[in-house]
């Protein structure tokens, strides 16, 4: 089942002589439950692609269909609510709310929807993430890995269709990185979520179903596992 469809996505920064084409006519689709990674050098346009897919940034041209809806046809407020309910974000620098506890950070998107969080679901996520005993801790009292796990929890809580992760392991040591990725995969399999993850770490692509490479704003679908292709 096709969940994400990106069509002719272009993004240009600046105008005239100073213009820089960050994304050049990118098109691809992703199926439900698929886990894909995006690799590429710094400045190749990976983050721009992810931000455009997530509706954080607007493309110069092109369409992004999520669950069959073009997100750029939506008004700003509609898009915010859509993002809140259908897209989970994980950032390299965690972006947790410092004054909220682990549990409060996780349920934050539900609270933004003015809904009451389902305590069972929260406990379940906390357990999967191994944060049950840290639920009342503040981000400042957590290690980097724990903070990123909290951010994953926040991305999972609304059971979004797609999870977009921008180098979620960029600030973590190798063990924590592996743990986080395992967790992400386990959780997404559990909830049947589609994941698109940017990473610099080639080792982490081994778990992905598909690997995309972005070079100078052009996306190449490497198909199966990155290291397989290389080999």
């Amino acid at each position: 089942m096709e969940i994400l469809k990106v069509q002719n996505l272009c993004k240009t920064y600046g105008t005239g002589e100073n213009s820089v084409k960050a994304l050049k006519n990118i098109s691809f689709t992703m199926q439900k439950g698929e886990f894909a990674t995006v690799v590429g050098e710094s400045g190749s346009g990976k983050s721009t692609l992810l931000n455009c897919i997530g509706g954080l940034d607007y493309p110069t041209f092109g369409k992004v269909y999520l669950n069959g809806e073009n997100i750029f046809d939506m008004k700003e407020n509609e898009l915010t609510v859509f993002r809140r309910r259908n897209i989970g974000f994980i950032f390299q620098s965690f972006q947790l709310i410092p004054e909220l506890t682990v549990e409060q950070n996780i349920i934050f998107p539900i609270l933004l929807d003015y809904r009451k969080p389902d305590q069972k679901a929260v406990d379940e996520i906390l357990e999967i993430l191994g944060l049950l005993d840290r639920r009342h801790h503040l981000p400042s009292q957590l290690s980097g890995g724990q903070q990123q796990r909290t951010a994953i929890g926040r991305a999972l809580i609304t059971k979004p269709t797609v999870i977009l992760a921008d180098e979620p392991t960029g600030n973590l040591d190798s063990k924590s990185s592996r743990d986080v990725i395992d967790l992400l995969i386990r959780a997404s399999r559990h909830y049947k979520q589609t994941i698109l993850m940017i990473t610099h770490n080639i080792n982490l692509t081994s778990s992905a179903d598909r690997v995309f490479q972005v070079t100078d704003g052009v996306l190449t679908d490497l198909g199966g596992k990155y290291d397989e292709k290389l080999s």
Partner: protein, 786 residues
Amino acid sequence: MMKSYLSLVSISAKIHKKQNRMTLICIILAVFLVTAIFSMADMELRSQKIRAISEYGNWHICLKNITEGDAQIISARPDVAASSWYNVLNYRLKDDYYIGDKKAAICGIEEELVHSLWKDIIVAGKYPAHNQVLLTENAREVLNIDIGDSIEIRIPSGETVFFTISGFSSNNMMISKADAIAAFMPVDSFKQFYEKATAKELSDSDLVYYIQFREHYNIKKAIKNIEKNYGLKKENIRQNTALLGVMGFSADSYMLGLYMVASILFLLVLVAGVMMIASSMNSNIAQRTEFFGMLQCIGADKKQIIRFVHLEALNWCKTAIPIGVGAGMIITWILCAILRILSEKYFSQMPVFGVSKVGIVAGIIIGVLTVFLAARSPAKRAARVSPLVAVSGNPGKVKNIRQAAKITSLKIDISLGMSHAWQIKKNFFLMVGSFAISIILFLAFSTLVSFMHHAITPLRPYTPDISIVSKDNTCSIDRGLLEKLSKMSGVKTVFGRSFAYDIPAKIRGEKKKIMLISYDDCQFKWAEKESRMSDKNGIEKTAKDERKGYVLTSYNAKNPLHMGDKIQIAAGELTVMGILSHCPFDKIEGVETVICSENLFKKLTGENNYTIIDIQMNKNATEKEIAAIRKLAGENLFSDSRLSNREAKGTYYSFALFIWGFLAVITIIAIFNIMNSISMSVSARRKQYGAMRAVGMSMKQLTRMIMAEAMTYAVCGSIVGCILGLPLQRFLFTWLVTARWGTKWSMPFFAMIGVILLVILSSIAAVYNPSRQIRDMSITDSIHAQ
């Protein structure tokens, strides 16, 4: 090419222009506040000095009972600038000294007195020689005389003494009002005249000795020294309190109280300045922890970072202080210009582009000093930033938070906004303090308004310039005179009143006395504006319907008359239809003032003529026109109040303008400060707001969250401001008003509600701009914002 690591300061300033703008604005505002308040206070003191000199003379003390020898020694003191003997005969105009048919006061003066101590009072001619006199200017018109003419002064014994006129002096307020003339002659001539007129020898003890001290000497000390050296008693030294007061040398306990109040107010202004700068710098540093961490990463030591922050502060001063001082000066110029426009004659001595050294120096010193003081804590804070912060990816306030936000039953955006406000205690105190200080400043300065209302009575719409009064206070001025006067050139308004005194009356069965006064249409129109309480159309009915005996009365706490009360007098029954808050007559103890229409007055008393005719002149009325009126007045008393009106107006304008000016500056500063504080707080969290938007927070929710934060500051600031401001206001009120006029302090509800509304509305308005900026910024840009 960078010469030192400190060159980074100017480079960084160029790049972070936008971030630094808010800190710059804060320093500009603080310097502006201090410069404007100090300059305005300086200008007000200058204007009050001009007023005091023109009203009371440019002397500081006058001594009684000193000998000629002592006077000579005193005049030789290095701190004495000018001194002169002076005496006056018939000061109260009660004895029969006449020049022509006008009462006269005779003064003995020395030349120094007219030039230095009384501030150039000669308007024509020169200081009189022996057998010559200097007359007040009004004599020229009244007696049709000029310099070189001969006049005779009639003394109580009926004899006359001849003098030649050497010149004319400016009119004196009391002399003008009483339509009298003052004659000035040298002290020697005066001694002879005195002996002839009173058949007594004039001794030194009858004379007073005026002294003007040099500027920059400690006058208070000099007075004490003279008092001690010459064994003078307190009652033998009269001080020009008005002048000494504005010069800051008064020993009067009330004036000392005023100085204390002024010091407290200035202290408050300073505290406000420091708070504003401190909170802005704190916020500026907090936003750049990553940068300071990076500096440490690449090898900067703590001292270097502190030096860096200090230099940065100095760099801001370079731009902010001249702008702040300039803005403060411009505001002062505007106020001075308004003052000159309002009362040109009175304030012609005020400089148009007056530069207040006090204001400028205060602005600069306080600017630099507070910036450095305020920079101390952020500099230390910057130096404490761990190099790890630069690489950890979790900069900013994460480390400062020790307690989780309370997500209450309120909406998440509101709870989070509130928690943002009080999460970081130091920031919370600074913000609340910054809001509270605005309220405290406003409440404290608003006491000056009450002080002004007590100290100065503004001119009422019915205040006359000229009055023609019946000599024996009867209704003897012909009605026809009013008509004649109204047709004269230079006359703006003429209105007459008839008086019937001590009419026996019964009020609620009690025997009383009333004073019946008639009003014409013009006065009833003014009365409508002064109405404290009246029936529907009560004043109009009183003016128009004489058949029903409708009357008005004026308010005072002891007046037994209330609305609807009946007054029985021999001629009929009167009904009180309205109570006026003010009326132009003094209250006589035990006699109630009752105002009726002219027709009713005639019906009740049979009198048709006036006791007094009041005249208001056009602004540019000439002395010739006044002289013509004086001629028409004939035998009746002629009273010229133009001079005293001008003085009253001048005092009121200068006082009101500066006090409202203070309040306006404080209000503007409060609004800017609130807006800037909120703006800074939002800037500091821009990154976090970006992340929140990314995970699904709508702009509406974000605005509500910022609003909740702003409201938390506003409400807490208002509470703290009122808790601290009200007792301070009460204290200042007691010193300023209760101590002098006895009026008790009451809760200033209007001022309080006004300032709280101002704070809340400013906070609401303050949210608009930052939230618009965030909306216009893409989420990714917000997340990556520095």
